[in-house]
């Protein structure tokens, strides 16, 4: 079977894959990074969003072989060097933007890509950007609020708590 070499969260990773092995499966089952979640099989839910060469990608839309040589960032690599939560992760905790936690890795990775692209998004821009990320627990209220807060915007006026 062909070999795939990638750099994940600044560490080299390698493994043999079938042609049909998806990047999401490769990360979970071969590299052992189970923070990237699989919530559907039609590339709709966004629980598997990672960054490939800096771009937010649903890892289930890409074969592992296509990622050969790429730099991949996953949820496991998002915390600060000292292990503390980064700004987006901390905003998610501060604003209760997760419940069961299953969609959370994809949400954080998408939020990170959004804020890189648009450092001060409006509420509508956040909601639009998250169209590829499903959450069944939060009704999105606190996710949108956390992302606005992570961008440094004032959120205390967001509907009554």
């Amino acid at each position: 079977m062909p070999k795939v070499n990638i750099t994940v969260n600044n560490n080299p990773a390698t493994g043999e894959v079938e042609g049909r092995t998806l990047l999401s499966t490769f990360l979970r089952d071969i590299v052992g990074l189970t923070g990237t979640h699989i919530g559907c099989d039609t590339s709709q839910c966004g629980a598997c969003v990672v960054h490939v060469n800096g771009d937010a990608i649903k890892a289930c839309t890409m074969f592992a072989l296509e990622a050969d040589g790429a730099t991949v960032d996953t949820i496991e690599g998002q915390a600060n060097a000292d292990g503390s939560l980064n700004v987006i992760q901390q905003a998610f905790q501060d604003h209760h933007a997760l419940q069961c936690g299953f969609c959370t890795p994809g949400m954080v990775m998408s939020a990170s890509a959004l804020l890189k692209e648009n450092p001060s998004p409006s509420e509508a821009e956040v909601r639009k950007y998250l169209e590829g990320n499903l959450c069944r627990c939060t009704g999105y209220h606190n996710i949108v609020k956390a992302i606005l807060a992570a961008s440094g915007q004032e959120v205390s006026a967001v509907a009554a708590e």
Binding site: G35, G39, F92, L98, F102, E131, L134, C137, A160
Partner: protein, 787 residues
């Protein structure tokens, strides 16, 4: 200084840190050394007899360990139903077998026919494709009314018909009910559908079975809301295993919403196959598989009639409902259209005569069972829609009409078998009126209309029976289980505490909330307290998490166990300070002797309990660990009032939610932030039901909405920010914390508000429309506007 720990504080969730770092431990993250993988061959047709299954080619495929068919499960029990409903003639419901793998017939798309265990998941999938099956297709049974006709094709040949039960609650004398309608000044009738939904927790179901031949012990890792329930059902009814040799673990679970309560064939299969193959066996559901195997929700067709006297008092309600059970009886399916639905038909109102009629029907569709709210959303939707309709017919203020009919004196015995212990429905309505700014609506409507759109305001109330449930009552009603819960409070020598609870957290934040209660009671820092849940080998026998029961039932058990711990600790403290037990006070983690300056710290007492050198060994045992089981005296009754404002684009029929306000009475609240989050999530799902979601089958029983491409899940830009208020509080009168539960309210209370708002908007533009079935899609709205 503001309070910074204990009850009432919005503590940030400690479990978030692992989830945010991708370090959660979900079932699919668990891999057991040597494991094989199973993939199921599932029926692609709704109804057929199986003539033959040829596995010869598949058996020779690479990596195949073993192939199982129904023949391997002959003599093995089927999946049991946990609630026997008795019909209007005192006859038990019709209860067909529910095999692990199909026995001679398939009854819905997705019904499992065979299973391949192989070295890899891909090999199992490949081999499934090589199995040859010969089926004779039978007509699908889809429409409930058709299913009940005399010559209908039967889903289960051994049953008399497709009717599971014909059930009645409330006033059973038809003449008395009819007399109430005959004497009415006004009668309003509404026929409506509460459409079938798919729960869709973001984590698909997973099961990993493991068997240790040396110790003869089974372990099942599974995505469950209630590991002990799964163990009991699987051991006692399905596989006939000794409970003490079976460990069921539900680790981090990615949402449940009811659909992970039930005992599923795949759990029993993996447990069985792990022993049969002498290898751990893992099954991970794809989302496509979830759509045809996870129990689905709702699916009621109802006619409701409401009678009023000349002063607009509600005088009678009569409902006739067809409830779809799907092809088999899922674990609690029979209770949902009956005791979880009919009992709530009084709502928040003092209607003296109520009759609820329910016919539950087998069809060749995926089984239907509890989904967030379970029966109570169906009751609320009927009642609040018909009240809205009558208010419009009589040109009454819908809020004033509701207020006029509110129950205001408690306790209140409803005509449908419940006793509401407490409530203040005017209180929550007052909060709603303020939060929703009813006074400003006219201006907002005029602004919307200036932009060429329509605007509507919808209001409704809800009540739910939660804290499920008093075992003696539900036993009389047919439950085959007790519905208590349990907690063990284990104090360690150095004073830290592990609390083992029967409740299961799959998003509710128990790991944060439960320690707040114990910290409050003892007066020590929450960081000293941890919750252990989800592993039947570690926790006392508890019934798990559903029906908004965790804090009301399991939390009460935890309070009782903590009280026992404190009582014993006071005896130890009394001994250490040479005082009388009765004089010992506990405050802020210090035991003191009343009226003196003598005190010992919590940690000194706990150390003495485990190093009992100076200890009253003649009076009490060493150690400090207590267990309590708590069986509630009554249900709890969260209630509230919701308001929704929508805009409708008249050119397209597109509905957008502009404002959504919720005023809930949950009694006392432990962590307000988490309660807000629960309500937000429920509203999100309720808006999903109202505007987007529909699980649809065609006439041949093919699931038309079998993926996220076809089943419209609410997305971030489908919903607004919500305003949530829970400051109107009438504490529950019969549990120690005065709590009611908050998990389902949002999903129960929100759908009628949305639909009421849509009707308000359409009528404001002169459209003669008094109901649109959910989901209120652009095409349905547009069609209603053209009629």
């Amino acid at each position: 200084m503001p309070k910074d720990f204990g009850i009432g504080v919005s503590q940030k969730r400690r479990e978030d840190v692992r989830f945010l770092k991708g370090a959660g431990n979900y079932t699919d993250d668990i891999n057991v050394v040597g494991q094989a993988f199973v993939h199921f061959l599932r029926s692609e047709v709704a109804h057929a007899t199986i003539n033959s299954i040829d596995t010869s080619a598949a058996s020779n495929m690479p990596g195949v360990v073993r192939i199982f068919t129904g023949a391997d499960f002959e003599g093995v029990g089927g999946l049991p139903c946990g609630w026997q409903v008795t019909d209007r003639n005192n006859e038990p419901m019709q209860e067909p077998p529910h095999p692990i793998l199909a026995q001679g017939k398939v009854r819905h798309v997705g019904d499992p026919i065979a299973a391949v265990v192989a070295d890899t998941y891909e090999q199992a999938r490949d081999a499934v494709e090589a199995i040859k099956i010969d089926l004779d297709e039978l007509p699908a049974v889809i429409d409930m009314a058709d299913a009940l006709t005399e010559n209908a094709v039967k889903v289960h040949d051994e049953l008399k018909s497709n009717l599971c039960y014909d059930w009645v609650l409330g006033e059973t004398d038809n003449e008395k009910v009819q007399a109430a309608f005959d004497n009415a000044e006004h009668i309003t009738t509404l026929e409506l559908t509460n459409q079938r939904l798919v729960a869709n927790p973001m984590e698909p179901r997973v099961a990993v079975g493991d068997y240790n031949q040396a110790t003869e012990e089974h372990t099942l890792f599974t995505t469950s809301q209630n590991p002990h329930v799964i163990r009991l059902l699987m051991c006692a009814f399905v596989l006939g295993l000794p409970e003490h040799k079976v460990r069921v673990v539900a680790p981090d679970v990615g949402g449940g919403f009811g659909t992970k309560i039930f005992h599923y064939a795949e759990e029993a299969f993996c447990t069985f196959a792990a022993k049969a193959c002498n290898r751990p066996v893992k099954w991970t559901s794809s989302r496509s598989e979830s759509f045809v195997t996870d129990a689905q929700g709702r699916d009621h067709v109802t006619k409701i009639e409401l009678a009023l006297d000349s002063e607009n008092n509600f005088t009678a309600i009569r409902t006739n409902t067809l409830a779809n059970l799907g092809a088999y009886l899922s674990t609690f399916s029979s209770s949902v259209p009956t005791w979880l639905h009919g009992t709530l038909m009084a709502g928040n109102y003092k209607t003296p005569v109520i009759q609820v009629n329910v016919k539950a029907v087998f069809t060749t569709t995926v089984p239907v069972d509890a989904y967030r709210g379970a029966g109570r959303p169906e009751a609320t939707f009927q009642l609040e829609r018909v009240i809205d309709k009558v208010a419009r017919e009589l040109k009454l203020d819908p809020v004033a009409l509701r207020r006029q009919n509110f129950i205001t004196e408690f306790p209140y015995d409803t005509p449908v078998a419940l006793t509401y212990d407490t409530g203040d429905y005017n209180g929550t309505m007052n909060k709603l009126e303020a939060a929703a700014d009813f006074d400003g609506f006219a201006q907002r409507r005029s602004d919307t209309e200036a932009n060429g759109k329509l605007r509507g305001l919808g209001v409704n109330c809800y009540i739910e029976a939660c804290g499920i449930a008093p075992s003696n009552i539900v036993g009389m009603l047919g439950a085959r289980a007790g519905l208590y819960d349990a907690a063990t409070v284990r104090v360690n020598a150095t004073g830290s505490i592990s609390v083992m609870v029967g409740a299961h957290s799959h998003g509710q934040g128990h790991e944060t909330v439960f320690p707040q209660v114990v910290a409050e009671m003892i007066g020590i820092d929450e960081s000293q307290i941890e919750i252990v849940h989800g592993d039947s080998s570690k926790i006392p026998f508890g019934m798990g998490t559903y029906g908004s029961r965790s804090i009301a039932v399991c939390g009460s058990a935890m309070v009782r166990a903590t009280e026992k711990v404190i009582n014993k600790a006071k005896k130890i403290a009394a001994h250490l300070m040479e005082a009388s037990d009765a004089d010992i006070e506990l405050k802020d983690g210090q035991f003191s002797v009343a009226g003196t300056d003598k005190s010992v710290a919590w940690g000194e007492v706990t150390l003495a309990a485990y190093v009992p050198h100076n200890f009253p060994l003649q009076d009490i045992e060493p150690g400090l660990e207590e267990t309590a089981f708590y069986d509630p005296a009554n249900f709890t009754f969260p209630a509230g009032a919701y308001a929704c404002e929508v805009e409708i684009d008249p050119d397209t029929g597109q509905v957008s939610i502009e404002r959504f306000c919720a005023a809930d009475d949950f009694g006392n609240i432990v962590n307000p932030m988490i309660v807000d989050g629960q309500v937000h999530g429920g509203i999100g799902q309720g808006i999903g039901q109202a505007l987007l979601e529909s699980c649809s089958y065609d006439k041949d029983g093919q699931l038309l909405s079998g993926s996220y491409m076809d089943y419209a899940m609410p997305r971030a830009d489908d919903v607004p920010f919500y305003a949530v208020d829970h400051s109107s509080q009438t504490p529950c009168t019969h549990n120690p914390l005065g709590v009611k539960g908050c998990g389902e309210a949002g999903a129960i209370g929100s759908p009628p508000a949305v639909v009421n708002a849509v009707i308000d908007a359409l009528q404001s533009a002169g459209h003669d429309v008094d109901h649109i079935d959910m989901p209120v899609s652009p095409s349905r709205v547009w069609a209603a506007m053209q009629s």
